[in-house]
């Protein structure tokens, strides 16, 4: 720490960004790596999005029109995997890289070389994952949840590559998480106590612990699959004394905390933006921290609510139902806090605020359907229908994705030194908002009416709502090119951004000039 702090002016000319491509390959700078994570995430977002477009095109009307069922299954699988592991998770790591050091007054991440490595594993893992689509027999076609034995005894040969890609993605995530924990626990500026940290830092700290706890579990699950496929073991094969349900228990022990990994940082982002544009402090900082911690704890004891129909015993079923219902309490606390923060504030509605408000409303709707799903007897009707698809898209699209958009618009002036084009950004918001609701709201209806998920063709009574969902989906998809345009335009130029472009914003990052210099806080700031 001291070595870093007392050599500021020497470093300026030696440690500026290198020229050319090697700057990006060799960089250990948290801002460079953060940018790479964000660009990678956006590329994956478009890739996974293109697959969603194929899915929605096939489901535009009944009958098989565009793709065969075998390929359709590959699309649903890859869409899920790419969005989860390629788009949402790296985007949050990118934001963490950019913002955490600036928020806690640190000069960089604690482990900069590992930071470089954990990013550069990603593109290779992603390329390997996507390349399976071009292999003989096609890519993974067993859903992003890859239940055995469909993903072992009955899987295409490319599954081995899928397993390796998952291993690499997992290693990258674990390294990213270790780095974030090490940074937050060790590099806070003097005076930045834990309970003074911005909520984005808090939520990421908790997320990072979740990652370290569950990514090895996922690695274990895919390794057991690998053994079953190639080495004659029978972990998940009942014929050999194994247990297909064991796979689901292991997967969801990873999978449920995983869904909170994708939402907790969003809580942090929204908790920064709402007070900024309401010009009023967050209503209950302490209770927000405790709520996030409780949600994280509960996420470990609710996994079997994904498995209400597999035939777990009554007592188990009741336990998981009660535990799941409990999650509504801390989640409610968060929503009430956000609303109370807005209440009696002095609000303006710039794009980050719009996305954050949409987050609160739509995420809450996703929470409501989650509460409905937690009622085990009702879940017998909801399970594996489009109602579930509607639920998790409501928590992931306006939850994770809208929060990422909000964060991007909020901090873009700090990153680029320019203001983004507000009119275009608002267009982006409204198009996304309408498109998203048009896509996913009707899915509640077709799910309740009885349409199972993951089917390439459907009975006639589902036709009308499916067509609407597809139209909404295309609208949402096309709109994202506008986002790309807005970001590029903002990088290239635009109105000069002040150090603190949002008058209600709070935090150390706004004490730095815009754009943020390549090296920041080489001398720790004073935190009051």
């Amino acid at each position: 720490m001291t070595a870093v702090t007392d050599t500021t002016h020497h470093d300026d000319h030696r440690h500026g960004p290198a020229k050319g491509l090697m700057r990006w390959v060799l960089t250990t700078n948290h801002k460079d790596i953060g940018s790479m994570y964000l660009w990678f995430s956006f590329a994956m977002f478009l890739t996974g999005g293109a697959m969603a477009m194929i899915i929605r095109a096939e489901l535009f009307q009944p009958g098989l029109q565009i793709v065969e069922p075998a390929f359709f299954n590959q699309m649903t699988t890859m869409h899920g995997l790419i969005m989860v592991f390629g788009a949402v998770m790296p985007a949050f790591v990118g934001l963490a890289n950019w913002m955490i050091p600036m928020m806690i007054g640190a000069p960089d991440m604690a482990l900069p070389r590992m930071n470089n490595w954990s990013f550069w594993i990603l593109p290779f893992a992603a390329v390997m994952l996507v390349s399976t689509l071009f292999m003989e027999g096609g890519g993974p076609n067993f859903g992003w949840t890859f239940y055995a034995p469909l993903s072992t005894d009955f899987a295409p040969p490319s599954t081995t590559f899928f397993i390796f890609a998952i291993h690499m993605l997992g290693i990258s995530s674990i390294m990213g998480a270790i780095n974030i924990i090490a940074t937050i626990l060790n590099l806070r500026a003097p005076g930045m106590t834990m309970m003074k940290m911005p909520l984005f830092v808090w939520t990421w700290l908790i997320t990072a612990y979740l990652l370290i706890a569950v990514m090895p579990v996922l690695a274990g699950a895919v390794t057991m699959m690998l053994m079953d496929i190639h080495f004659g073991t029978s972990f998940f094969n009942a014929g050999g004394g194994g247990d297909p349900v064991l796979f689901q228990h292991i997967f969801w022990f990873f999978g449920h905390p995983e869904v909170y990994i994708m939402i907790l940082p969003s809580f942090g982002i929204v908790s920064a933006i709402l007070p900024a544009f309401a010009r009023k402090p967050l209503f209950g900082y302490t209770s927000m921290v405790y709520a996030v911690a409780s949600i994280a704890f509960l996420s470990f004891i609710v996994w079997a609510h994904h498995m209400f129909t597999v035939g777990i015993p009554l007592v188990g079923e009741l336990f998981f139902m009660y535990a799941t219902m409990l999650i509504a309490v801390p989640t409610g606390v968060k929503v009430f806090n956000w609303v109370s923060t807005m209440f009696r504030g002095s609000m303006t509605f710039e794009t980050p605020m719009l996305f954050s408000i949409a987050f609160v409303v739509l995420f809450t709707i996703g929470g409501f359907s989650g509460l409905m799903l937690s009622i085990a007897p009702a879940d017998f009707q909801y399970h594996d229908t489009y109602f579930v698809v509607a639920h998790f898209h409501y928590v992931l699209v306006p939850g994770a994705i809208f929060a990422i958009f909000a964060a991007t618009y909020y901090w873009l002036p700090k990153w680029t030194g320019h203001m983004y084009d507000e009119t275009l950004a608002k267009t982006h918001f409204w198009m996304s908002f309408i498109g998203m609701n048009l896509t996913f709201f009707p899915m509640h209806f077709i799910g309740l009416a009885g349409m199972p998920r993951r089917i390439p063709d459907y009975a006639l009574q589902f036709a009308d709502f499916n067509m609407i969902a597809s139209i909404g989906g295309f609208m949402f998809g096309v709109t994202q090119f506008l986002f790309l345009f807005i970001v590029i335009k903002c990088i290239k130029g635009g109105e000069k951004a002040e150090a603190k472009p949002w008058d209600g914003a709070d935090g150390l990052e706004w004490s730095l000039p815009s754009p943020a210099p390549y090296h920041t806080f080489t001398t720790p700031p004073d935190v009051k």
Binding site: F142, G284, A376, Q461
Partner: protein, 426 residues
Amino acid sequence: MMLLHTPALFHSIAERASNMKSASKLKTLFFLRLGWLVGLTGTFVSGSALADWTVNMTEGVTAVSRSVYSLHMIIFLICVVIGVLVFGVMFYSILVHRKSKGAVPQQFHESTLVEVLWTTVPFLILVGMAIPATKTLIDIYNTDESEVDIKITGYQWKWQYEYVGEGVSFFSSLNTPREQIQNSRIKNPNYLLEVDEPLVLPVGKKVRFLVTAADVIHSWWVPAFAVKRDAIPGFINEAWTKIERPGIYRGQCAELCGKDHGFMPIVVDVRSEEDYAKWLVERKEAAAKERMILEEDWPMDRLMTTGKKVYEKTCAVCHQVNGQGMPPIFPALKGADLVVDKARVGDHVDILMNGIKGTAMQSFANQLNEAEIAAVITYERNAWGNNTGEMVTPKEILNYRKNGKYTPDPDNKTVTPFVNTKQAGL
């Protein structure tokens, strides 16, 4: 698209209307509440009746399905009330507390009383919700004292129904014609929700389902009964129902189970007790007749005709009607070494009887009878220009079952190369 479907939709409306005579007031309320979406999107598709836009869960025809439905409606209404309150405060703030209206930000934060309240009140609501949910769940798990036991086995991509203790067992698979799926013909009203042989059940009796699978995990779901149970290889799950009204009830597989997951529907034909008893007697007689067929004479052309039927119903889904398969997952049979090499008849029989472990090729020993297995092997060895002229007889398969290995029957004289271009589809 709408032109194509309009007649079909009217049929499905009629059927649904007859299935749900007692659509409750709550349901109407739900319709109204969500009517905005109908209004919003009605412009896209003109001329379709309101009933097309099914927006809610079915109440179903069993006591369990009704209590599930009411749980669903209660929790939904709780969510609506909370939503109206929370969003009400929020939109009020958005409208009133804006800078453009000169709102001055207050600086209040933290209030122990408020925070304790908004933690405990939701908790109490949840407790109130958990009580009826627990009751229903206990009811769902009570599979005692069943009067009829049905063993359900999921296969890729069909269902097998076994009437335990009655000696009746059959497969039930999709019978929507391929042309309708490929959009070259107008779709039936029950497009993708129709099967060749429905499960027949008696009304008013407690029926227990023993659910399992032969290959991957499936899930047997009929919304009108609120029964959804995963069919897991190596496990037997229990579920039960007691249906109150005769009628046809439809459902689908609810767990991704491979390529044709979307094409393995469930149809349950619920009949009065007398009709059910009559049907069961007929089924038993038919089963006896089937056993007789084995003793009959099976000349080449009969094997080929039956074989073609069996092939197209059972094998073509993977190996394709033209025998070319979808390599590498589903290998071609046309010209394949296994199928044309005279020395490998035994292997061919082995694979059909036992499947190939670790692949999608399953065992058909319990899915097809001896005559059907013999016929389909004969067909595969002679169709699509394979023309081996070889014949496998039901008797040989019967012997295979007894001895566990294939031995050619000395009475089975292989005929001269057989080319029936019409049957072989050339």
